[in-house]
């Protein structure tokens, strides 16, 4: 499909692309970008943790935040039903 032209470019990763598997920690929840320290009044810093923590916990966020969110999980969720498993907070 492609031609085999060679052309200069300044794009792509400057370093090792594999760093994208473990990028620096985000300050935001799922659904928010890194908003910076304190910008959200402590609402989001706890939510996600690092990408690696999120992966390890099997969700969008780190395990500690996930546990906190689930502490307030509504009871009575339909068993066996595919769930968004969102917890009471931002953490799935």
């Amino acid at each position: 499909m492609s031609t085999q032209a060679t052309e200069p470019a300044a794009g792509g990763f400057a370093g090792d692309p594999a760093e994208a598997f473990n990028p620096p920690k985000a300050g935001g929840c799922c659904g928010s970008p890194a908003t910076g320290t304190g910008a959200a009044g402590g609402q989001t810093e706890v939510c996600c943790g690092t990408a690696a923590e999120a992966q390890a916990s099997g969700g969008c966020c780190g395990e500690a935040a996930k546990a906190e969110a689930r502490a307030a999980e509504p009871v009575g969720a339909a068993p066996g039903k595919r769930s968004t498993d969102s917890g009471a907070g931002c953490c799935g």
Partner: protein
């Protein structure tokens, strides 16, 4: 100087992303009639229906998929109020001077109390200023008889407090976030004066709807899934608008434009689908619903934010995404788009957790989740390079002409 082998076939074929149709998508989704597109609202459903029609017109087979969102969405159902007569300002401005904290209990009617701090021996009847808020400290404040909590919060450069609709679990007291300088004035020398506040906020259970467009059915070989969320945080009850043009009408626009092009240039046998996701602002619930149903091996590219590229596009990879990441890297070099490893806590994580190769790409959200996040903040140039980057990545994958060896551990 870096040499790059290969050019995106779409470019070779003269098919470049056009800003005009992408601009139309952004303008449409940001329109008043969709009311900020919060999951589970009439505006959100109307946006989904409009997008479904658009995908059909583009040649996709379209399916709407509803899903439950329970215990997650925090809804401000009235306008919170805060007054502090001793500070010289009786009525402070919602989302400028203060806003709801997502962990707040519902307080529909105004409650008056003196200002205090956690260091005070007696918190009975007090609004407590607490710069080190945590659920445990909130529990302590409840035990000690406080009536509410005030925490400091910064604003963005334009003086807004960005709105969010999902966050930490609610506590037993009303909690308001107060602009940091105002909070400091309250804390230094103003203790003992009174504040009066109301925080009408509740948790609502709603139904979301994902919009799926299948442009090319999976035939057992390479299958690509382009995703972007279309939901926003929704307008406020007083009519304050949250157009959500950058986060993420822009991403939706670029994904649709890329799919239109790829539908024409990809070789036969390659699957191509688009998932326009609901509920991302509510904990990525739409992708959480969808991801477990996706065919294993499907390559997922999620775009969240395509309004202002800045110095580089943010990229996070998850799952067995080595080849996908390498194709993206090559596409970045082909199209001149710099890439930077940066956390993208978005729908891509749901697909990665489901075991799918997934990358999340972000290209800027000026005015993030404020009334200033309007279509004028979305750059045509960024829309164009976003669609071009997606297109080139997909074509590179189809080519298999990737010069970088994927990491076999990924």
């Amino acid at each position: 100087m870096t040499s790059v082998t290969g050019r995106p076939a779409a470019v070779a074929a003269g098919l470049s992303p056009q800003p005009a149709p992408m601009r139309e998508v952004v303008e449409e989704l940001a329109a008043d009639r969709y009311a900020g597109r919060r999951v589970g609202t009439a505006g959100g459903r109307a946006a989904a229906a409009w997008l479904a029609d658009l995908l059909r017109e583009a040649g996709a087979r379209v399916r709407l998929d509803e899903f439950p969102v329970t215990g997650t969405v925090r809804e401000v159902y009235g306008v919170p109020t805060l007054s502090w007569p001793a500070g010289g300002t009786h009525a402070l401005v919602f989302r400028r001077d203060f806003c709801e904290h997502l962990a707040s209990a519902d307080l529909p009617d105004p409650r008056t109390g003196r200002l205090s701090t956690m260091d005070d021996a007696d918190l009975t009847g007090a609004w407590v200023l607490d710069g080190r808020y945590s659920p445990r400290r909130a529990e302590d404040a409840v035990t000690r008889g406080a009536v509410g909590i005030l925490v400091p919060r910064d604003t963005d450069a334009a003086g807004w407090m960005p709105k969010m609709i999902a966050g930490p679990a609610p506590v037993a007291l009303p909690v308001l976030a107060v602009r940091t300088d105002l909070y400091e004035r309250m804390r230094t020398g103003a203790q003992g004066s009174t504040v009066t506040a109301a925080v009408p906020v509740r948790t609502v259970d709603v139904t979301g709807v994902n919009v799926h467009g299948e442009f090319r059915p999976p035939l057992g070989g390479l299958t690509l899934l382009l995703t972007a969320h279309f939901d926003g945080v929704g307008d406020d009850p007083d009519g304050l608008r949250f157009p959500a043009a950058c986060d993420n009408a822009a991403g939706v626009a670029a994904v649709i434009e890329a799919a239109r092009i790829l539908h024409r240039v990809l070789p036969d046998g390659i699957g191509l689908g688009v998932a326009l996701l609901d509920g991302e602002e509510a904990g990525a619930t739409g992708s959480a619903w969808h991801a477990p149903t996706v065919e294993p091996g499907t390559l997922v590219i999620n775009l969240d934010g395509a309004a202002r590229l800045g110095q580089a596009a943010a990229v996070e990879a998850g799952g067995p995404a080595g080849p996908l990441l390498a194709a993206l890297d090559l596409a970045g070099r082909q199209t001149g788009v710099p890439l930077r490893a940066q956390a993208m806590p978005s729908d891509n994580r749901r697909y990665a957790v489901a075991g799918l190769p997934a990358v999340g790409i972000g290209m800027g959200m000026p005015g993030y989740q404020t009334p200033a996040e309007n279509p004028e903040r979305v750059e045509d140039a960024t829309l164009t390079v976003a669609a071009r980057l997606l297109t080139a990545t997909a074509v590179n994958l189809a080519d298999g002409s990737n010069p970088r060896r994927p990491d076999p551990r990924r």
